[in-house]
């Protein structure tokens, strides 16, 4: 799988192919240093602590507390709605909330929170993290309340 299907801009990284493949098959990969055992999300092909290049890809834990969230109402150009064609009109976009879940100690995973109203989302509540393939083929991560 091309990593661009997830990252939007970057063609590839050393871990991009396997990461995107895993997302496509419904898994979220973290990396684990074979020498010191430290885990990383996003995954990386080397360990910055012991400089080892022997890492394994492992499935990241999928449940944890929501650390914080937002919904971006004024999006960057990439996500902005096209201008209204009707004169004197505006196109309103209702953005999907985005949050960060702490799945295991210091492993933090960002994802969309589809289908939840902002007022119902609470920092500290439990969420599950899931890989998701969108209809247009784009790969992403979503968070669902437990």
């Amino acid at each position: 799988m091309p990593f661009k299907d997830f990252s939007l801009f970057i063609s590839d990284t050393k871990i991009g192919g396997p990461f995107a493949e895993a997302l496509k098959s419904g898994k979220i990969f973290a990396s684990k240093c074979d020498r010191c055992g430290r885990m990383f999300f996003p995954p990386r092909p080397e360990c910055p602590d012991c400089l080892a290049e022997d890492v394994s890809y492992v499935e990241a834990p999928t449940r944890g507390e929501l650390l914080s969230f937002t919904a971006v109402f004024v999006p960057p150009a990439h996500y902005a709605a096209p201008p209204a064609k009707m004169p004197f009109s505006k196109v309103a976009q209702t953005p999907c909330p985005v949050g960060v879940v702490a799945v295991a100690g210091d492993l933090r995973i960002m994802g969309w929170i589809p289908g939840m109203a902002l007022k119902d989302i609470k920092v500290g509540s439990l969420f599950d993290v899931e890989a998701k393939t969108l209809k247009n083929g784009q790969l992403t991560i979503i968070l669902s309340p437990v």
């Binding site: 801009f9 996003p42 004024v74 999006p75 985005v98 902002l118 920092v123």
Partner: protein, 386 residues
């Protein structure tokens, strides 16, 4: 260090939507202002350090060379320093190093940005990529989005409210309305701030700083030259810099800018002062929540009490520590590369007693706090009146 370092000339150009001027012309305004302020001859400048945050705004590979040539400083040394929104403070740090080490007796530090060359949505995209462009931008994150997450975490942990955030905006607009160089010189009410549209939940329009064009410059000199100029020197007594994770999600506490805490401690220690000794401060209020975090992370109030601290008007003139009485980034504007240098200009003027209706009476020790990105790099500088 071989030398002590002082600011001997300081000027900020008009901040705003400057369709009338190019990047290099904005730089010239600030440069000429600082030179006149000091009474120095241009030939006395030994070298220059330039702060520009993003090539995407300047449409040039080496915008600092364009400016330097335009100022007429050839063949003196010049290069650019980049630290996102803290570029200005990082350039000040490099300028300070250049003088302290004895490499130059006098250094020009200039920051400039012309952000309105691109449409707002493009500026939002450029700034959004100031986060992790590979791992966070795919979730539609904008710059306000990162600070919105900081705000949400702060509210959940400490009970900070949207009203507290709006109070910061009201204060900064109150002082910005008295600053003729500010981008938006108008007061706002709490109701207006609370009623403005959402940018990134829970941050609204009036929680956000402005997309602004502008430039600022300071002239630094060592102790042998510092008293040769028109105005009394303002000494740089402490300078601290620290860094934090690229991804905001990886911070141990999302509501704390740990780089602010560490850079602050470093600067206080070097200057031999404590937070209580600071008479006037400019802090990085790119968003209202950022000013509340700064109160706490710099030790002006205990962690978690930033909301009540603004509610008690402790950061107005007459309170325990006046903060951003130039209007802050919120109302004065935030031309990214210029911001850190403009903060140094404001504190220099305050310590000289030149701030008119916004003067903090008897100010002797000042502090600037400048955050790059969402806390990836922070510069804290402490200044003392001669």
């Amino acid at each position: 260090m071989k030398h002590k370092v002082a600011i001997v000339g300081a000027a900020q150009g008009k901040f705003g939507v400057r369709e009338d001027a190019s990047h290099r012309e904005l730089a010239f305004e600030a440069f000429a202002g600082a030179l006149k302020d000091s009474g120095m001859k241009k030939s006395e400048i030994g070298s220059m350090v330039t702060a520009i945050a993003a090539d995407e705004f300047s449409f040039a590979l080496q915008p600092s060379a364009q400016m330097h040539d335009y100022l007429g400083l050839l063949p003196k040394a010049n290069f650019r320093v980049e630290g996102a929104c803290a570029s200005g403070s990082m350039a000040l740090r490099v300028g300070w190093m250049t003088v302290a080490s004895g490499l130059s007796d006098i250094v020009l530090v200039l920051g400039a940005e012309k952000m309105t060359e691109v449409p707002t949505a493009v500026a939002t995209e450029i700034m959004g990529k100031g986060g992790d462009a590979i791992w966070e931008y795919p979730f539609g994150m904008s710059f306000p989005g990162y600070y919105a997450m900081i705000a949400q975490a702060h509210m959940a942990a400490f009970g900070t409210t949207e009203e507290h955030l709006a109070m910061v905006a009201v204060k900064n607009h109150f002082y910005g309305s008295q600053n003729p160089l500010a981008h938006m010189q108008k007061e706002i009410t709490l109701e207006k701030a609370l009623g403005s549209f959402l940018v990134a939940y829970p941050l609204k329009l009036y929680d956000c700083s402005l997309i602004t064009d502008g430039a600022a410059a300071v002239l630094l000199a060592n102790e042998e030259r510092a008293r040769d100029f028109a105005k009394p020197p303002v000494w740089i007594e402490g300078i601290g810099t620290a860094t934090d994770t690229m991804r905001i999600a990886e911070r141990e506490k999302v509501h704390t800018l740990q780089a602010s805490v560490i850079a602050g401690e470093e600067a206080y220690q070097m200057a031999g002062v404590t937070p209580k000794d600071i008479d006037v401060a400019t802090v990085h209020d790119c968003f209202t929540i950022a000013e509340i975090c700064a109160y706490e992370d710099l030790g002006f109030c205990p962690k978690g009490e930033g909301g009540p601290f603004i509610a008690d008007r402790q950061t107005y003139i007459g309170g325990s520590i006046p903060v951003n009485v130039d209007g802050g980034l919120k109302s004065k504007g935030h031309p990214v590369g210029a911001t850190g240098v403009a903060m140094a200009v404001e504190i220099t003027k305050q310590l000289r007693g030149e701030s008119g209706s916004r003067q903090v009476p008897g100010a002797e020790i000042g502090l600037t706090h400048n955050v790059g990105g969402s806390g990836q790099v922070v510069g804290v500088t402490i200044y003392r009146k001669d």
